[in-house]
């Protein structure tokens, strides 16, 4: 997901225009291969820098846009406890976005550039956030499945080769641990409730399952840059490896609360020690990447509106700081 290049399938991969000094490149490759971390002032190949800027900013955008589907339910949470929890979770996601923007900035890109790229539609973010949150059960499903998938993805990133990104991930993973549990707790409560509540939980699982397993990105054979990212230790496991792990841990969690994964082909494979699963509708995935997700337009409108509505606050803060600076200078 976050380590996935979210590009339209037909978009041409960018060819690195820069020819790197072979000696420096070899030294860099050796360091990375030895699991050394690369820090902002270290020399790095342009393609490494570009890949990181794209990946970290996409990850940041995902955290920020990810606040919207859940924020949508804060005022309608069914109890004060659930409301406080959801508020805390959404607040964490905002923080995750900020850690990540700051990590990307160490690579020489500015916050303004990244935000502009998001708002103009040039930058991508995780496809999952372009699906609507129709019922309270969706908040449970998101915590359990979407944060669960995010954790699966982010745990290995704590050892990604770029120091500031790795350190941001350590902080994120620590905070992330309650997100999945609160979601599963919601699902548990609904699954153990009335028939209507149980149906609501199952319906949410039905709608979120496939988009969640798509979060890991296209299958490895359609993920041409994975090998390079793995070689540079930006990415430590492939899309399909992470997806399989996620399915293997999640299926028993669904069974334990009497919910059914909406995949008729899902079957334990003794020989592989993993679940076999049905075909994923990659056309749907690429459509969402292209910006055709069910609520893609609403998401970006909400993002841009929040930015524009906040302009007067930023202006006021700037004016206030300038006034104080002038006053101090006069003293």
């Amino acid at each position: 997901m976050y380590t996935t290049e979210l590009k339209d399938k037909n978009q041409k991969p960018q060819v690195a225009a820069v020819v790197e000094d072979p000696e420096r490149l070899a030294a860099f490759e050796a360091r990375v291969a030895a699991d050394d971390f690369i820090e902002p002032k270290d020399w790095m190949p342009e393609a490494y820098r570009k890949t990181l800027v794209r990946q970290i900013s996409q990850h940041a955008h995902s955290e920020i846009v990810g606040m919207l589907p859940e924020g949508n339910w804060i005022t309608r949470a069914p109890s004060l406890r659930r409301k406080a929890v959801l508020l805390a979770k959404v607040q964490d996601e905002g923080g995750h976005g900020l850690y990540l923007y700051a990590a990307a900035e160490t690579l020489g890109t500015s916050r303004e550039e990244m935000i502009e790229a998001l708002h103009s539609g040039r930058a991508k973010y995780s496809t999952i956030f372009n699906y609507p949150t129709l019922t309270w059960a969706d908040i449970g499903a998101i915590g359990w499945l979407v944060d669960g998938a995010a954790i699966m993805n982010q745990v290995p990133l704590q050892r990604t080769s770029y120091g500031p990104y790795a350190r941001a991930m350590v902080r994120v993973c620590k905070e992330e641990s309650f997100h999945q549990r609160q979601g599963y707790e919601i699902m548990m409560a609904l699954a153990g409730g009335t028939d209507a509540q149980k149906r609501m939980a199952q319906d949410a699982l039905n709608r979120w399952w496939w988009p969640s397993i798509m979060m890991f990105g296209p299958p490895d054979e359609n993920s041409p840059n994975t090998a390079q990212s793995i070689r540079w230790r930006i990415k430590r496991e492939t899309n399909d490896e992470l997806r399989q792990k996620f399915i293997d841990v999640t299926v028993p969690q669904a069974e334990a609360i009497g919910l059914t994964i909406p995949d008729a082909d899902l079957k334990w494979n003794d020989a592989r020690g993993s679940y076999d699963y049905g075909a994923i509708d990659w056309e749907e995935f690429y459509a969402v990447v292209r910006g055709e997700g069910p609520v893609a337009k609403e998401r970006m409108q909400a993002r841009v509106k929040a930015w524009e509505d906040g302009a007067w606050v930023r202006d006021a803060a700037t004016a206030h700081a300038a006034k104080h600076e002038a006053r101090e200078a006069a003293e």
Partner: protein, 94 residues
């Protein structure tokens, strides 16, 4: 003639992958000399691979008197911790 040299805070990265951590401070006439002094004072035993020096005057610190107001509100938000949620023993990997 004699002007007091400013104070600089010294931060050391012990090894790549770790963040810089505060080690102490030095007095020096300018940034370059502050780095040199920090190197001589704080890294004589391979304490690190990278140094930062920051003018102490540039650090804005919170007021200890405000500590309660700033940090105590986190104390009753136990729901920010995973242990707040009880998940039955038989459910794994969560």
């Amino acid at each position: 003639m004699s002007k007091n040299w400013p104070l600089w805070e010294v931060f050391i990265r012990a090894k790549n992958g770790l963040s810089h951590r505060h080690a102490g401070s030095v007095h020096a006439a300018d940034a370059k000399m502050a780095l040199e002094a920090a190197r001589d004072t704080y890294t004589r035993r391979m304490e690190g691979v990278s140094l930062w020096v920051v003018p102490s005057a540039a650090i804005i610190a919170s007021d200890p008197g405000d500590a309660a107001e700033l940090f105590e509100p986190a104390a009753d938000k136990v729901y920010r911790h995973p242990t707040f949620y009880s998940i039955p023993e038989n459910i794994k990997n969560i």
